[in-house]
């Protein structure tokens, strides 16, 4: 019997509430390393180690440590260490508490072997990650936090409903392959909300850019990757994942090209990269699952690095938008270097980790004879290269700034160390992929690194670069906001009430008044009772009645159709 690996992290998180920042720092860093050391001690076999607890006749599998969960848990812990290092200067109690709880619950969720354990960690994750969104420097963060919570609690409810259905029908509650019946669909939608799959993604670019530089770094890694891991467990090999993945990848890359806020642009690329990962899992072959899992690891590393580098720019300048930045290369070479490592890694430049895992993914698509998928994902790779190392880097680091700006604060050493750590991991996996292969769920070998693939990648990237240079004179970053699906609940719902429910309510009122008038007339003629005044329906009730009226109409139409 071993202690559950999340417990030390929960304890560090609780200590953050009572200990002063200076004393808690060492613990903060020691937490993930301690858990990592604890897990490495466990003798590993590929069948997986299971530790379960029985209560009330229900067997709860607290730990299932097999090759897939091992990969994710190790990555979560290593990333947690570097993210803690990056935000070590931070004295904010909330962030130190929430980040540890967030990492602990992510580790717990990845290790969970049954749905109820998973659900508990899932909900702790939702609540503690929401705390990380709050940022006193951005007035919009409270609203984003609220919308984030609404989304994730809804996702949790769907997950819970699926779980209950399974419980009622006495299905096995293990986290394993699930058929797409009613409960399966409910769970799939719940998981997709957390993974940021289009069209359930709008919370992601809404909330992630709002956090503090440190807060957003944590956010970038865990929620979506835990969801992707669970999707891999439950729905690997389902064709729908390929479709959802391909749509997300294209959608993310197009919206990123329109974006002005740096971290919002990167958020759209989380959606895009999650799309890649889902395609891998959807293919379901050994190579596909390896590619998906490997790309998830890669994405945690390089996306975290990119959030760190842009966070460092924000920390130093207080500016979030490309339209307000420019010429930053002259101010800080070190951030430029780390940013470019992350940017090249995500675009799949050779010698960095993105190249390794994207190559596996394209190969898996080719192996499944899905030419369209390979072509789409290659185009998306070109779009990624276009928006992160070319567009974002150009407008942040080299373009002439519209207004001159100053650097407010020197860059803390710990931030540099955090970025250096993730950069070296990106390089390590890129140069020596066997390091990653060791931990992949299936046996992997690097036959994919032929000269042909190398030349094709270089051709694609150089071609895209040339295209960017051609179009650059016409390219301007405008200070605008881009609408996304969140319009539906931020603006559209208001229009729905104002434009549809209110008029419908009025029609309802008119009909009702006419009917009551008619009734009154009838009663007058029939009997000699005194005329009763029926009050007009008051306005708010009117609207609710209107909504009900529309609902009744829809039900009626559906009934008539069927």
């Amino acid at each position: 019997m071993i202690i559950h690996p999340s417990i030390p992290l929960f304890i560090v998180g609780l200590l953050a509430l009572v200990l002063p920042a200076k004393r808690q720092r060492a613990l903060q860093l020691a937490g993930p390393l301690f858990v990592l050391a604890m897990l490495i001690q466990i003798p590993f076999d590929h069948e997986g180690i299971i530790q379960s607890v029985k209560f009330f006749g229900y067997t709860s599998i607290l730990i299932r440590f097999d090759s897939l969960s091992r990969l994710f848990v190790y990555t979560f812990l290593i990333f947690g260490f570097f993210a803690h290092l990056y935000s070590l200067h931070n004295e904010d109690r909330k962030i130190r508490f929430a980040s540890n709880f967030y990492i602990a619950s992510s580790v717990g969720a990845a290790l969970a072997g049954d749905m109820i354990t998973l659900f508990i960690f899932w909900e702790i994750m939702a609540v503690t990650s929401a705390i990380l969104i709050f940022n006193k420097n951005r007035p919009g963060s409270a609203g984003a936090l609220f919308r984030y919570l609404l989304f994730h609690l809804t996702g949790g409810l769907l997950f819970f409903s699926g779980l209950m259905l399974k419980l009622v029908s006495h299905d096995a509650l293990q986290v394993k392959s699930i058929a797409l019946d009613t409960s399966g669909w409910l769970m799939l939608i719940g998981f997709c909300i957390n993974a940021g799959v289009v069209p359930l993604h709008a919370w992601l670019p809404d909330a992630y850019p709002e956090g503090t530089p440190s807060g957003s770094v944590y956010m970038s890694a865990y929620t979506t990757k835990v969801a992707v891991y669970v999707l891999a467990r439950c729905f690997a090999g389902q064709e729908i994942l390929i479709w959802l993945g391909a749509i997300s990848a294209v959608y993310g890359v197009i919206f990123a090209l329109m974006e002005n806020d740096m971290r919002k642009l990167l958020s759209y690329h989380i959606i895009c990269q999650v799309g890649y990962i889902l395609c891998g899992f959807g293919l379901g072959s050994e190579l596909g699952i390896n590619a998906g899992a490997g790309h998830a690891v890669g994405n945690i590393l390089f996306k975290g690095l990119l959030f760190m580098a842009t966070g460092a720019i924000i920390y130093q300048t207080g500016r979030y938008k490309l339209s307000e930045l420019g010429g930053f290369a002259a101010k800080s070479k070190i951030i430029l270097i780390f940013y470019m490592i992350g940017a090249f890694a995500i675009s799949g430049v050779p010698l960095l980790n993105g190249y390794v895992t994207k190559a596996m993914l394209f190969d898996a698509a080719g192996q499944a004879h899905l030419g369209w998928l390979e072509l789409t994902l290659t185009l998306v790779a070109a779009g990624t290269f276009l928006s992160i190392p070319l567009k974002l880097a150009y407008f942040a680091f080299w373009a002439k700034p519209e207004q001159p700006y100053e650097i407010h604060a020197p860059l803390p050493v710990n931030m540099i160390m955090g970025m250096a750590g993730l950069s070296s991991l990106c390089l390590l996996i890129g140069v020596y992929p066997q390091f990653l292969y060791e931990f992949l769920p299936y046996h992997a070998h690097s036959h994919i690194f032929g000269l042909e693939h190398l030349i094709h990648t270089l051709e694609l990237l150089a071609g895209t670069w040339l295209g960017f240079l051609i179009i650059l004179p016409k390219l301007h970053i405008k200070a605008v906001l881009t609408l996304d699906v969140d319009w539906i609940y931020r603006k559209g719902s208001r229009l729905f009430i104002e434009g549809l429910c209110r008029p419908a309510g009025r029609i309802h009122e008119t009909i009702q008044n006419a009917l009551t008038g008619l009734l009154q007339k009838c009663s007058q003629t029939i009997s000699s009772l005194p005329k009763q005044q029926i009050p007009a329906v008051s306005r708010p009730i009117n609207m609710i009645m209107g909504a009900g009226f529309i609902l009744a109409l829809i039900i009626l139409i559906l009934q008539l159709k069927s």
């Binding site: 290659t378 070109a382 779009g383 094709h456 071609g463 040339l466 295209g467 179009i471 605008v480």
Partner: protein, 77 residues
């Protein structure tokens, strides 16, 4: 020599390497038989993606930055 010309020379070199040095292993789809196809995909695909995204923004999706927070309709709270 500016950046554009360097890139063009680099691209030509890459395509030449592909034509003369690489034996493609069993191409399955027609685009895999075209030498230097990734150049075309990157160049044309990249430009088209950019134009598509920008026009999608200009004609449909761009709004002023205070769109969600205009006076009286404060959604941030």
């Amino acid at each position: 020599m500016n950046k554009k010309n360097i890139l063009i020379v680099f691209l030509v070199l890459l395509v030449l390497i592909e034509i003369f040095l690489i034996k493609p292993h069993h191409p399955e789809f027609f685009w895999q038989k075209i030498k230097g196809f990734p150049v075309l995909l990157g160049l044309a695909g990249g430009i088209l993606l950019m134009i598509f995204a920008k026009s999608l923004g200009r004609f449909f999706l761009y709004r002023s930055e205070d769109y969600y927070t205009k006076a009286g309709e404060d959604n941030s709270k």
